[in-house]
């Protein structure tokens, strides 16, 4: 096997160019001085970082994201596992259902949810960790479903399950020690996407009157020029770092049992 591939590096460099230049353009604008329009001033970053609202909102959204990730994975991992193992005919139905959130515009979904749950207990209706999380799980469905589905497809669910059960393991052991470690990469992809959705969803939060981080971003974008660019990069960086930490946590958990992500399992 070649250790070095020219074509691989060409693609990586092209990707870096395409993905980084827009961020660079944002960066160049964010460090301009408001008075002179020249380089360089960090006051836009100071404005954001010294805004207590920034920190409280980002915290709320991050907690909301973790809750959404947990609920979504708890709902989808067993379902998709079971569908691959026992109910393959249901796969098309479920993948279709998972796509439906795409055709229900968030603006319609939020109106429907508010109507439908009007009068429900305040701990659900008036709390982001109730109402908003419930809606975000729906938004996460398509992404998490397709991530997990691709992950389950890449492993041989039948063989793994059968081997484990034949060796005397319980269902619980099979799930926890055989299946989960093998779909960890897919689950992590789904978790990343969910985190990013929650850190970026504006319409539902704004219309149901919850003040999440994206609502703050939108507000800064409409009213502040330079801090808006600074905020874009800060939120990009923070979300990226959050994903890095999920990756680390995820890796530490199962790396000893099954080698993650390597070419030769």
């Amino acid at each position: 096997m070649r250790r070095f591939s020219l074509s691989a590096w060409i693609w990586i460099v092209l990707a870096a160019v395409y993905f980084l230049i827009p961020l660079l353009a944002t960066l160049l604008f964010s460090i301009k001085d408001k008075q002179t329009g020249n380089c360089c001033s960090l006051s836009a970053y100071g404005f954001i970082l010294h805004d207590p609202v920034f920190w409280s909102r980002i915290r709320l959204s991050f907690e909301l994201a973790l809750e959404t990730i947990v609920i979504t994975l708890l709902l989808l991992v067993p379902t998709i596992y079971w569908v691959h193992l026992r109910l393959p005919r249901l796969r098309a139905v479920i993948s279709f259902l998972a796509l439906v959130p795409f055709v229900v515009p968030p603006i319609i979904l939020v109106g429907g949810l508010l109507n439908f749950y009007r009068g429900s207990p305040q701990w659900f209706y008036a709390k982001p960790f109730g109402f908003l999380a419930a809606a975000y799980v729906i938004l996460a469905f398509p992404y998490v479903f397709f991530s997990l589905d691709a992950g389950f497809r890449a492993i041989d669910v039948h063989t793994l399950t059968e081997a484990s059960l034949n060796l005397g393991a319980s269902w619980r052991t099979t799930l926890a020690r055989v299946i989960l470690p093998n779909i960890k990469v897919a689950a992590l992809s789904g978790a990343f996407l969910t985190l990013a959705i929650v850190m970026g969803e504006y319409t539902i939060a704004a219309l149901s009157a919850f003040k999440t981080f994206p609502v703050y971003i939108e507000n800064v974008n409409e009213t502040q020029a330079y801090p808006a660019a600074a905020l874009t990069l800060l939120s990009f960086g923070i979300t990226w770092a959050a994903m890095g930490s999920i990756l680390l946590v995820g890796r530490r958990g199962g790396a000893t049992r099954v080698q993650l992500g390597g070419g030769g399992r």
Binding site: F29, K32, D33, K34, Q35, T36, G37, N38, V110, G111, L114, N115, R118, G119, Q122, Y125, A126, A206, L207, S208, A209, K211, V215, E218, N219, N221, E222, T223, Q224, A225, Y226, A228, A229
Partner: protein, 393 residues
């Protein structure tokens, strides 16, 4: 109708100002005659008074400001929606209000549209987070009033709000107005355009933006109206305005991106057609962009926004206090500081309460005196025409 009501509440207010002294009441009871005999006994008067305070009043003058403040403080909070801090100086209006009355404010969906404001009243009905007050454009104020979303309230200064900018039932009233202006970036645009006709010049290729789409943004639609006035149209006929933008697009001058502080500061929208109170704020905000704003003499068009109180406001007294504050001289001058003309502008001028420096910073009052507002019907007709034609410009 309104005059009769004004007389009535003026009378009631004068009654209320006096202490509830038995002798005085008896005297007044006699004086007021049969119409007000119900007040002729102290018990009934007390009961009436308690009743007045039990529910928020219809008429601001019927209670004292101190009473409104007291009740509002009991509620402790005011929910508002779609009040951007850089829009007509709302940032300072909000902070002054909070400081003055010690109330906290829950600001939701700062960038919401008028439609979303009314929708929030429907969606969040019965919820403690429902907005107490809204600030919407006239067509939505009319819709909301007809739908029963708003409460009736005659603010203390109701009388000095121009007749054309208020609902006689007290369901809504105008709070501030502005005129369409052309802002331009002095670094990029060497000769700032002064009129709509100028905008078609080839030197402005890829430079002219609106503040959004006329299908969704009131200010963008106002830009179309102003362009219509500049090209032989009228409030009844917005067609020439649509044609103007068609032409602007075909010569390659129009860019569809919405003007915002970010695009203005970065120079990505070198010319923006927008409300005077936004373009004038940019002038001071971004010295590096050398932003200037002019009211195009060929297309003087203006529009106002309306305040209304939710019929099911979770904080009804605070909502009324908010209106009292906005329509006080102090509140109105705060709007003016943000270059938005407060609805009581003529009254403020008449009483000479506007600081000279503030007047000097505004464009010529002569242009503003030419301002005419579209009626509900004219708005609806223009909407239909823009809706049908704008997707094809």
């Amino acid at each position: 109708m309104e005059d009769f009501q004004e007389q009535e509440y003026e009378f009631l207010r004068r009654l209320d100002e006096d202490t509830l002294d038995r002798r005085k009441l008896l005297k007044r009871g006699l004086a007021a005659g049969a119409g007000l005999t119900i007040l002729s006994t102290p018990a009934a008067a007390l009961a009436a008074r308690q009743k007045v305070l039990a529910a928020p009043p219809l008429i601001g003058r019927k209670v004292t400001l101190a009473e409104i403040v007291k009740e509002a403080k009991k509620e402790g909070k005011l929910n508002v929606i779609a009040l951007p801090h850089d829009w007509s100086n709302y940032g300072e209006v909000i902070s002054t209000f909070k400081k003055k009355y010690g109330l906290s404010m829950d600001e939701q969906n700062d960038q919401g549209s008028s439609a979303q404001e009314n929708q929030a009243l429907r969606d969040l009905k019965g919820d403690s987070r429902q907005p107490d007050v809204v600030d919407v454009s006239p067509p939505f104020a009319i819709d909301g009033a007809n739908e029963g979303l708003y409460a009736r309230y005659y603010t203390t200064n109701y009388r000095t709000v121009p007749r054309s900018q208020k609902d006689t039932r007290g369901l809504w009233l105008g709070d501030y107005y502005g005129a369409i202006s052309i802002g331009s970036n002095g670094n990029i645009v060497k000769n700032a355009p002064k009129t709509f006709a100028d905008l078609l010049k080839p030197e402005y290729k890829n430079q002219v933006a609106l503040n959004g789409s006329p299908l969704t943004s009131g200010s963008a639609r106002a830009g179309v109206f102003a362009a219509a006035l500049a090209h032989g149209g009228s409030l009844n006929n917005v067609q020439p305005g649509i044609d103007f933008f068609k032409k602007l697009k075909s010569v390659g001058n129009f860019i569809p991106v919405g003007g915002s502080p970010q695009t203005v500061a970065s120079g990505q929208t070198p010319i923006v057609i927008d409300w005077d109170y936004l373009n004038l704020v940019y002038t001071g905000e971004f010295p590096a962009a050398k932003w200037t704003a002019t009211i195009p003499a060929d297309g003087v068009y203006g529009a106002y926004y309306c305040q209304a109180i939710s019929a099911t406001a979770p904080h009804p007294w605070a909502a009324r206090l908010w209106q009292e504050f906005l329509y006080s001289d102090q509140g109105q001058l705060l709007f003016l500081k943000g270059f938005a003309h407060p609805t009581r502008f003529p009254d403020l001028v008449k009483r000479k309460v506007i600081p000279a420096a503030l007047l000097k910073a505004l464009p010529s009052p002569a242009l503003y005196s030419k301002l005419k507002f579209a009626t509900a019907k004219q708005n609806a007709d223009s909407k239909a025409l823009i809706l049908a034609q704008w997707p094809n410009i």
